[in-house]
Amino acid sequence: MRASAAASITLFLCAAAVAAGVRAAPAAAQDDGQWPMPAKDYASTRYSKLTAITPQNAPGLHPVWTFSTGVLGGHEGQPLVVGDTMYVVTPWPNVLYAFDLTKEGYPLRWKYRPEVSANAIGVSCCDTVNRGAFYVDGKIIYNLLDGHTVAVDAKSGTQLWKTQVADVSGGETVTMAPLVVKERVLVGASGGEFGIYGWVKALDLKSGAIVWTARNIGPDADMLAKPGDFKAPYDSGADLGTHSWAEDTWRTGGAPVWGWMSYDPELDLVYYGTGNASPYNAEQRLGDNKWTASVLARRPADGSLVWAYQFTPHDNWDYDAAGAMVLADLQIGGKPIKALVHFDKNGFAYTLDRATGRLLLAQPFANVTWAKSIDLATGRPVLDPSKQTGASRGSVKGICPSLEGGVSPSSPPAYSPRTHLFYSSTNNLCMDYASARASHLRGTPFMGINSPYSAGPGGNLGTFMAWDAATGKKVWENKETYPNWSGALVTAGDVAFYGTLDGWFKSVDARTGKVLSKFKVGSGVVGNPITYRGPDGKQYVAVYAGIGGDWLLLSGDVRSDDPTDVRAPADYIKDIAGHTSQGGIIWIFGL
């Protein structure tokens, strides 16, 4: 198949942000210049209609402002811009800064320093990250690592409510970016490395009270899978979330929610991906392990499950599906399709019908050895039996992608309705996977794994690529020396933006990938660039520098903050510390 006609994207403007009166409501065809939610819009496109920055003038992009956050953890996530204020959430201790963009030097209007338990640091598998805040109804809403959700008054910085949603003592932390739909604040917990019983909760926007809790695994009653409402496109029967697990292994089966959520207001469905099954030793949880490594579609009002599709049944490789679900209206085979596009850790890019969860396309975007293909009739991967893992199999060699993913779920893609292309970072790593029997000890890791990494074919450890989700084909890619961990941004000026792990921030031509500008931002980039129109009417691009996010990946020798913690370089990424070290810095670029 080939993409024939123009694909179009439905942009779901954040009505609440506009209604707050911080800036006049935009005409439909114009961008309001703000960035009010993690991915800019409910469809998670990370696409801005701003056009001032173009391939012609982008070589003139230069830094106009920087600010140290004072925090060293991995700076994933992205700032928000609402009206004339920029909001920034740091990794633990989760400080919230509000910058006045109308004044020279962008001084702080206020900062909010919540009390956040340091105990949460030890229950975080992969650094103390935070993936960002959500603006709605005059409130900034975000999650604290120690399992709380807070709402802060966007004008004054005053805390409006604070609700405990997760239990650190049971291995739960909260790193994901919340999504607010109507009166519901949707949050989920990390903890796939701690054997949690994964969930999503909805809080009341006004009071912070928990309205509903939906498990991602377990019995239908816990999953809010109601007869008649729930229809899985490739499965049938009751209690799939328990029957697809040996004995009661679902009780400690993981399925965390640590990435991103999307919402389609026409279908009234919220979409999110679940993480890996626990423990990593798959022989301790025989069966498909539904609905780990899956995408779930729910009604925001009451949480009821509408459909679910599992990308990686019986996850043998820590292939979380926590990455973004991008909602785009595509032309596939000449037909308009309300699609959901997802780049999975398992190396396949999936295009689904977002009304039903049926699979339309699945093609590898990275080097894949664990499966030969995805069967479109059954929705299931065609496995390579020699890449199945488990404690009885010893060290299984040559599995690609590595458990860092063909792309990290931390690195969300962007979609341009002008080029009809998706833009994404990728990792080019393979692994050997040696499972061991894991013992479940509450509050400690539940893993059982040793998985040394190696470079994939070509030797470059990452790329930034453009992908056609209507045909399942890569259009161009820029090879990068290191695994690429930044999110993507694309604009109506046809310029895409990303950062590299060794600390280069780049703008590229969205149609060709040609590098238009690059600047060394002081630390590796694992954050996601945004763009906005400043109070002066000019277009700016902002991004965090601040390497971190997974100390199994990132070679511990990039750390210099603790004289009692000195680590050797990782052998597959030996010289990264020769190019970067930790440190959170906000950068703003302009023309």
């Binding site: 340091a118 105990n119 949460a120 640091i121 030890g122 229950v123 975080s124 598998c125 992969c126 650094d127 490395e193 061991a436 894991a438 013992s439 479940h440 000890l441 509450r442 509050g443 400690t444 890791p445 539940f446 893993m447 040793n450 100390w551 199994l552 511990g556 020798d557 603790d562 004289p563 009692t564 913690d565 000195v566 680590r567 050797a568 370089p569 030996k574 010289d575 510390a577 020769g578």
Partner: protein, 168 residues
């Protein structure tokens, strides 16, 4: 530390390491209460930290704990198994090389590297996320881990990392 931190003082340890491991795993899996530790009648308030700066140059009175397995290679080997079985490697990496938790094989210690200090870190836990394992493992399990960790040999020339040689 408060004076309630006395439970481990004076614990008598006479258990074969392999049997210890089996008992510990059983206890952990069954969520049973750990073996109650003996309480010394005249127990000191806490471990004395040798490297701490003493205000006025006067060190406070502190307890002394000695590792019953110090230097025992068989116990160290059992401790290596325990390091995996109790999920220590999930945070500190394979062989304690460092992940979300610090490297334990670099010969450097955030909270002191004397046997008693390492014991205290594991038994009671530490701020910034080190869980307290004393309840799940009991004193002898902790000493077994201490013996293993103290057996790890730090690399040569730890402070210096040259990138010029790495690139060639």
């Amino acid at each position: 530390m408060s004076t309630s931190n006395r439970r481990y003082a004076g614990v008598q340890v006479r258990v074969v390491p392999a049997a210890v491991l089996a008992c510990l795993l059983l206890a952990a899996c069954d969520h049973r209460d750990p073996e109650p530790a003996a309480q010394g009648a005249a127990a000191p308030p806490a471990v004395a930290y040798e490297a701490h700066v003493a205000a006025g140059g006067v060190a406070p009175p502190g307890g002394t704990l000695s590792n019953p397995h110090q230097g025992d290679k068989a116990v160290a080997a059992a401790g290596a198994n325990l390091f995996t079985a109790m999920n220590c490697d999930g945070c500190h990496g394979p062989e304690g090389s460092g992940a979300v938790g610090p490297n334990l094989g670099d010969g450097r210690w955030r909270y002191g590297g004397a046997d008693a200090e390492v014991f205290s870190s594991i038994y009671y836990g530490r701020p910034k996320g080190m869980p307290a394992f004393g309840g799940a493992m009991g004193a002898d399990g902790v000493w077994t881990l201490v013996t293993y960790l103290r057996s790890l040999a730090p690399p040569d020339n730890l402070p210096t990392e040259s990138f010029e040689s790495a690139a060639k």
